[in-house]
């Protein structure tokens, strides 16, 4: 019930309300701009939020993340280019709808379904997060390390095309996090005699490098390879309006998508894209008109949109209760908490409970804000995006990355880290390594190391402590099982592909 006073306190703060509306608009524009992600925008704005009060900073970035997820659907429907990976499933039916002059209708379905999914996710978060935090308080270091281990394995093996490259990316993230002084013994690690390296690699320059500068490099590559123009969509008055009769069949898909997204959101690393595709597949399987899916079915827009937005709220649960970010946006938000001196984990609900629920309230109001802007103004947002000259936008982002990285700590070393991370991020993308796994693992590594070594110190049986304690063992098995399922899935796909070729 803490959410109601929190909502009231946010509603009575005009500055905060303005920040929420502004963040909703910014997130939508960023998400709808192909090639620009909410993660990049958040990373770029991160240093500015150092100068804001904690709630203001967190709410601003959290709402950008939420709205950015929704904004991706605008580009997917109108330009056949998903603004975010999560909206790739929306594109399957959204773009055919736009081509047949129903872009406005498709965007309204996407907006309503996003609101339904996102609110469902947030409500489940508000109801469930207290229970998770209470359980988390009872976990000891071995159990916490086992959760970290499961998160590493799941993040490394489930996202991306290759398990080996995914796990390698996660390990690279861990190794980067190890640079600097050991927090327990103060021994130097990977410093090679450099004073700058003894302070470690900062989260903010790494994020800005990988997500912002890396994106600029990727855009430059795209521009050099790009051929052809975007085709204009037809538009009619009837194609822009949406009636209740038209949305009614979408409703079960939106609710199912909401539950699928919320369930997947709690698991670290799986993310919106997986939720959207699972929801799309499940929706098509249960649809009364499966033959229309893929050719322009409104339900085919509702199912993935509800799911990808429903991920947003529940993905905060592992972050707030265990300090384990479930997504790149979560990893950046963790940085904001730490910068403002707020320790994330189960004790957060004892020390800063009010702040947490106010953040949830801001998230809910952010959903309403992007819903209203999107329902009445998505077409205008799309027109605005078409007017943004990308040949000016990306150079400006390039310059912002440097000044933003410097502003974080006033450190030139951070700017160097950002530059190298940007190039490294681009290389990882180019060679199909998993950036999200690398960054999330970087954030998790210190906590994982601490709990691992604490477990060894408190144990008389050495590493066996992780096997002797049932909860820890269960999480270790969970991680390995997730990897085994993924290997099985890949082998099955290969067999089907080989069979298909054999038949040909």
């Amino acid at each position: 019930m803490e959410i109601f006073p929190a909502l009231l306190s946010v509603l009575t703060d005009p500055t905060l309300l303005f920040a929420i509306v502004l963040a909703a608009a910014v997130g939508m524009i960023v998400g709808a701009t192909p090639g620009l992600t909410a993660s990049a925008a958040i990373a770029m704005l991160l240093p500015i939020t150092f100068y804001m009060p904690p709630l203001f900073a967190l709410a601003f970035l959290y709402v950008i993340g939420k709205s950015g997820r929704y904004g991706g659907s605008i580009a997917a429907i109108l330009f056949n280019t998903p603004g975010t990976a999560a909206s790739a499933a929306t594109q399957i039916d959204g773009y055919p709808l736009a081509r047949s002059g129903k872009a406005g209708k498709a965007m309204k379905v996407a907006t309503i379904s996003s609101i339904i999914g996102d609110l469902m996710g947030d409500i489940l978060l508000v109801v469930g997060v207290g229970f998770i935090a209470a359980i988390a308080l009872k976990l000891g270091p071995p159990e916490t390390f086992a959760i970290y281990f499961a998160a590493f394995v799941v993040i490394g093996s489930v996202i991306g095309k290759s398990i080996v490259k995914g796990l390698a990316s996660a390990l690279l993230g861990i190794l980067i996090a190890m640079v600097g002084l050991d927090p327990i013994s103060s021994e130097e690690r990977y410093t090679f005699g450099s004073f700058d390296l003894s302070n470690g690699v900062g989260l903010v320059p790494l994020m800005i490098g990988v997500f912002v500068l890396g994106e600029v490099f990727a855009q430059m590559e795209e521009r050099r390879k790009a051929k052809g123009d975007i085709e204009e969509n037809e538009s009619s008055e009837s194609g822009n309006s949406l009636s209740w009769e038209e949305y009614k069949p979408c409703l079960p898909h939106a609710f199912r998508g909401g539950f699928i997204g919320a369930g997947i959101g709690v698991l670290p690393g799986l993310g919106s894209a997986i939720a959207a595709f699972i929801s799309y597949g499940e929706g098509k399987r249960r649809a009364k008109n499966p033959e229309k899916w893929g050719k322009g079915a409104l339900e085919g827009v509702a199912a993935p949109e509800a799911a990808n937005n429903a991920v947003s709220g529940p993905s905060m649960a592992p972050l707030l209760t265990l300090g384990i970010p479930g997504s790149t946006i979560g990893a950046i938000l963790l940085g904001v908490f730490l910068i403002h001196g707020i320790q994330v984990g189960p004790t957060l609900f004892l020390t800063d409970k009010e702040l947490v629920y106010q953040l949830f309230a801001c998230g809910m109001l952010g959903i309403i804000a992007y819903g209203v802007i999107g329902y009445f103004g998505a077409t205008q947002v799309a027109r605005l995006i078409l007017k943004i000259p990308t040949n000016v936008l990306y150079p400006m982002i390039f310059l912002t990355a440097f000044v933003a990285a410097y502003s974080a700590r006033g450190s030139m070393f951070d700017v160097t880290v950002m530059t190298v991370a940007g190039f490294g991020g681009w290389l990882m993308r180019k060679y199909d390594f998993n950036i999200a796994a690398c960054v999330i693992s970087f954030v998790l590594a210190k906590g994982a190391e601490e709990t691992f070594r604490q477990s060894l110190l408190m144990s008389e049986s050495g590493p066996l402590v992780f096997v002797e304690r049932p909860i820890a063992l269960a999480f270790l098995i969970l991680g390995l099982a997730a990897m085994a399922f993924r290997i099985r899935g890949i082998l099955k796909e290969r067999r089907i592909a080989q069979g298909g070729l054999g038949d040909a």
């Binding site: 080996v164 190794l175 013994s185 021994e187 490099f217 502003s407 030139m412 700017v415 530059t419 070594r453």
Partner: protein
Amino acid sequence: MRAYAEGLVLAGLAIVALWGAWQVPAASPGDTWAGIVPFAAALALLVLSIFLLLGATPQPVDAPEESDNAATFGIVGLFLIALLYQQSFRWFGYVLPTAITAPVVLYLFGVRNWIGLTVSVVLCPLVFHVIFFELLGVFPPYGEVFDLLDWIKG
């Protein structure tokens, strides 16, 4: 061929990481070794790189398209500009390097309007300086060789 290269690069990184972890002094009695996690992570990375090498199948190397080469050269060029730009903060402060880099990067991204490029020389450093160093109060980087900001301020 690409998988071999990826495997070899990863193996190289893993070996450097293993060597780096090995340099960490031994633990004092009653403590855990500070190198245990880096060592374990580096070892796991080495194992994965071996998997990558074993899984690599020899395939004929396709000649890269001309657009691929142009894109890669473009990225490497932009990265070199980025390295030079960040290093020049140390030598010349923020304003002068930004005034030079802004039109160069705009040109690389396809802006050919000479008026626009000229305006960017003044506008980019001015806008970024005002936002970050005046409004947010961040202390600007000081140029050891020459600082245009100092010169402007007299």
